[in-house]
């Protein structure tokens, strides 16, 4: 077995958070989530070492190292031509066969695993150090040729002007390698948002799921009324389901990464877009994420049409819940000196009819 630091690609389910030096932070985070049992879209990372090997074996490392020989702060006038030349060098240099074969064989395995020919993937840069200008993400990349082209395109982002200036200001050398993440594009039949509390009243015993057809933009941007599912977090039983109108959905334009709105077929609007099984699986994962991070979370998910349950349930993004978590703790009940006093209080109040 090749040690991790010498590998060119590493699957998400083989890595954890400590591997960011090999695969970059974004990739390592996904690995960490997978390790915690949080299902992210399947895929693999092209390692930082792989980019280094690519530049070394093709001889461009030597050329790159000569573009800026000083260390420390650089001016835009210095950084700009160096950036242009570095990007040109990376883009015009063919990938050596051993590197290409490694990546392509992983891609084929991914296609097989998903049961989709030329499965669309995202190609995302992932640096060991976060820096501006390195946020490149290419969506809906299909086929072996495009994949290796876009990986090189992604690598070029390490030499964006902003990236160069930012890192050299921090005394990080000009020569710099990044990792690339290759997750399957989630072919969202349904997507939405999970809150691990009830966002309406802050009730911590509930999990709330908003879900609608297509890509998550429709729910996140609020141009559809999604279904809302409220689930009791302790006994994991649905408490309330409200069916939303769900008139439109967002989908990728054929073959590209542009998003368009299309109408939802009439007969699908009035019914729940999640199956009971999917809803309960999402609730289970929501609880898992909350337990893992130790606080309420706000989670984006997709239900992948290409995969069978439960591997179709994919977590896209997680962040701490920000509204109720910041509020001061206030009691929801009145203080009573003893059980009898509480009983009396209830009897005197009764049930108000309108």
């Amino acid at each position: 077995m090749v040690p991790k630091e010498e590998r060119l690609t590493i699957w998400y389910d083989e890595m954890d958070g400590n591997d960011f030096n090999f695969v970059g932070k974004k990739n390592a985070n996904l690995g960490e989530m997978m390790k915690a049992g949080i299902p992210v879209s399947p895929g693999f990372a092209v390692t930082i070492h792989c980019m280094d090997k690519f530049t070394a074996d093709t001889g461009i490392k030597e050329k790159l190292s000569k573009l800026i020989t000083t260390s420390g702060e650089v001016s835009f006038e210095v950084a700009k031509p160096a950036s242009d030349e570095a990007i040109r060098l990376i883009q015009t240099t063919e990938m050596p066969d051993d590197i290409r074969n490694d990546i392509v064989s992983n891609y084929r395995k991914l296609c097989e695993k998903c049961g989709v020919e030329n499965v669309p993937v995202a190609v995302r840069s992932s640096g060991a150090v976060s820096m501006p200008g390195q946020m490149e993400t290419y969506l809906n990349i299909r086929g072996e040729k495009d994949l290796s082209d876009y990986i090189r395109l992604c690598w070029t982002s390490a030499y964006n002007v902003e990236a160069i200036m930012y890192r050299m200001n921090k005394n990080i050398p000009f020569l710099f390698n990044i990792g690339v993440g290759i997750p399957k594009m989630v072919n969202s039949r349904v997507s939405g948002v999970i809150f691990t509390i009830n966002p309406i009243n802050g009730d911590p015993s509930k999990i709330s799921i908003d879900a609608s057809y297509g890509l998550g933009e429709a729910v996140v941007s609020g141009f559809v009324t999604p279904d809302t599912y409220l689930i009791d977090k302790i006994v994991m039983e649905p408490v309330k389901t409200v069916i939303g109108s769900k008139e439109v959905m967002c989908v990728y334009k054929e073959g590209g990464s542009d998003i368009v709105q299309v109408p939802v077929p009439e007969e699908k609007r009035g019914v729940a877009c999640l199956t009971r099984q999917e809803m309960l699986e999402l609730a289970r994962i929501g609880k898992l994420i909350e337990d893992y991070y130790g606080k309420p979370y706000d989670i984006e998910f997709g239900i992948d049409a290409d995969m069978p349950f439960p591997s179709n349930v994919i977590i896209l993004q997680v962040r701490p819940e920000s509204v109720w978590s910041k509020k001061e703790v206030t009691a929801k009940t009145e203080a009573k000196k003893d059980p009898m006093d509480r009983l009396l209080g209830t009897l005197l109040t009764g049930v108000r009819l309108k």
């Binding site: 509930k206 006994v235 009691a331 009940t333 009145e334 509480r342 005197l348 009819l353 309108k354």
Partner: protein, 614 residues
């Protein structure tokens, strides 16, 4: 809020004129006292479909009268529940309507508080002692007295011992006295029925409302899970049948038990078998009292018990034997239920951040756990054990009157009010004493025939859900917990009354949530307990009500729908124990759904939809 139809305006069904005489006079809505009439118009009266899916036979109304007295008296005269008085009763075209009564002058409420605190406080402080050592003894005593009561035909001449012992009283006197004793025992039983019940319901209101504040929308099933966990008596009969099934296998007589024979035949066969005899001994032991469990609610003379139809428990024992042999584990896993109760309670409690909330949690859950054993167990003593014995005794009286020519059939007795039976017995006794034919044989058959006709017309009538004027606030604990009267429920009733009969979607039925879960399946409508054997795997059981005695069938069905019951009714509690999705209180589910219909049901919202007709 809108009003319902004025109770005085409900039309009499043509051909039933004079029906009022079948029931006590004070049950009628009348306008002869303007003050009473105004009171009646200003109250909300709702049809007690929870207990009564059918119109009342005149005799069966006695339980209604007894709880009218018992429930109300405990609210008003024993506990002095500060804002609530009793529950008033009326009858319309054979159907019972009830109405919670509030304290008329709100300024009086604070004066009632110290009395309530002292009285209820005493019971809460001494709950277990009063229940275990006092109540259970009293109940067992009156059950023994009831068992000892036996009725037989009047003798041609008094036994010589009556003379020689200087008894000085005759059989006519004994018959009249024993009938009084019978009714009196029934009344005592229903006095005891409410000794703890009003406070139990007050506790449940507190528990439900506090937990709903802490965790809005917390499922009812979860609330019962958190307060459950002891060993309820209601599960004992089922446990006995499992024990008998295991014993049959152990003794090697299981094949014998499984032979398709009627109960009496089987028991005879067992008695003739050396090993079978041993099993039979245990079977007989289990019968008293555990087979006194009713297959219905126990409220009606038509409800059978296992003891009145031994085919039912024997069929269940057979099901158990087959299940055990197939390697299934039977029974109620008490330890597991207790473990789950403690686990989920602590998980909910851990979510609470404020001290006041944790205290509210502990106080109300503590109360709920204190009262639950009584809340669940009293039904076995009263509606099952006592009622089963009681119906049998009344049937003895029916036979005497039938033998004397008062009735064509001893079952005609149910068409007489209980005070009319006393009158008829007087007629019988004076005739017997004087040696003259009583008037009964020429009076009752005609009257009973007319009453039977009226009763059939009542059955065809659909009682409106509610009458009169809804109040702003309901404070009566039973009305809140047992009947679940809320704004939503009133809205549903109003919609129903606006749409009239047959209004709305005939394929959608609204009931109450009983036990959580959504399922779909073919319906099996059970009109009688004998049809239980027809149930097939995955079917949805539709019945007037369910009883714990049906438990063995619960393992194969997908869900249950009942005509009567609220979220805290026995059927709902039992179905939750079995994790069976259930909708209760649909009113007319057994009439609207037909066997073989494809039905969708949601135990969380109480909605039932008929997707496809058979």
């Amino acid at each position: 809020m809108a009003k319902f139809m004025d109770p005085h305006d409900v039309p009499t069904i043509p051909g039933t004129e004079g029906w009022e005489r079948m029931y006590p006079y004070q049950y009628q809505f009348t306008k002869d006292d303007p003050e009473r009439a105004a009171y009646e118009s200003n109250q909300i009266w709702y049809y007690d479909g929870l207990h009564y899916p059918t119109p009342h036979h005149p005799f069966d109304l006695l339980w209604d009268e007894f709880w009218y007295l018992g429930l109300s008296q405990y609210n008003t005269r024993h506990w002095i529940i500060p804002p609530a008085m009793g529950i008033d009763h009326r009858i319309v075209n054979g159907y019972v309507y009830i109405s919670p009564v509030g304290v008329a002058n709100p300024e009086e409420i604070p004066n009632r508080v110290p009395h309530f605190m002292e009285r209820a406080g005493y019971y809460f402080q001494n709950w277990n002692d009063l229940y275990e050592n006092n109540w259970k003894k009293k109940m067992t005593k009156i059950i023994e007295e009831l068992e000892a009561l036996n009725f037989s035909d009047l003798p041609e001449m008094e036994d010589i011992s009556v003379v020689k012992n200087g008894l000085g009283k005759g059989s006519g006197y004994e018959l009249l006295k024993k009938y009084d004793d019978l009714i009196d025992l029934g009344l005592q039983c229903w006095q005891y029925h409410f000794e703890f019940l009003n406070l139990s319901y007050a506790v449940q209101v507190t528990y439900f409302q506090t937990f709903d504040q802490l965790f809005p929308g917390i499922p009812m099933a979860t609330l019962t899970k958190m307060s459950a966990g002891f060993d309820p008596i209601l599960f004992k009969p089922d446990a006995e049948l499992i024990r008998l099934a295991k014993l049959a296998i152990e003794l090697g007589v299981d094949q014998l038990v499984l032979k398709p024979m009627k109960a009496d035949e089987l028991l005879k066969t067992m008695a003739e078998d050396a090993v079978g005899k041993k099993w039979l001994e245990e079977f007989e032991k289990a019968r008293y009292p555990w087979f006194h469990i009713s297959t219905g609610t126990g409220w009606f003379h038509t409800d059978q018990s296992w003891n009145t139809n031994l085919n039912i428990p024997i069929e269940n024992i057979r099901t158990n034997i087959n299940a055990l042999k197939a390697g299934k584990t039977l029974g109620r896993p008490t330890e597991q239920i207790v473990a789950e109760r403690d686990k989920i309670s602590s998980e909910y409690r851990n979510l609470l951040k404020a001290d006041a909330d944790r205290e509210a949690f502990d106080q109300s859950l503590g109360l709920a756990r204190l009262v639950l054993p009584y809340a669940e167990d009293h039904n076995f003593y009263v509606e099952h054990w006592f009622h089963t014995l009681f119906w049998a005794k009344v049937r003895q009286v029916g036979k005497i009157l039938a033998n004397a020519g008062f009735f064509e059939d001893s079952e005609d007795i149910w068409f007489l009010r209980r005070d009319e039976i006393k009158q008829a017995l007087w007629d019988l006794c004076t005739g017997w004493a004087t040696g003259v034919k009583p008037r009964g044989p020429s009076y009752w058959p005609k009257e009973i025939e007319w009453r039977k006709g009226v009763y059939e017309k009542f059955k065809e009538w659909t009682p409106p859900a509610a009458l009169g004027t809804p109040p702003e606030v309901v404070t009566e604990p039973f009305t809140i917990v047992l009947w679940g009267v809320t704004t939503n429920v009133l809205d549903t009733w109003l919609k129903g009354s606006e749409a009239g009969e047959g209004g709305g979607d005939p394929n959608t039925i609204q009931g109450s949530p009983g036990s959580s879960g959504i399922v779909q399946g073919r319906a099996r409508v059970l009109k009688s307990i004998d049809e239980l054997a027809d149930l097939k795997e995955g079917e949805i059981l539709v019945a007037t009500t369910t009883s714990p005695s049906w438990a063995p069938s619960f393992v194969k069905i997908a869900g249950a729908i009942t005509d009567v019951g609220g979220p805290m009714c026995h059927a709902a509690i039992v179905c939750r124990e079995y994790g069976l999705p259930t909708v209760v209180g649909t009113g007319k589910g057994t009439q609207l759904i037909k066997t073989g219909d494809l039905v969708w049901m949601d135990g969380d919202t109480g909605v039932v939809k008929i997707l496809e007709r058979a």
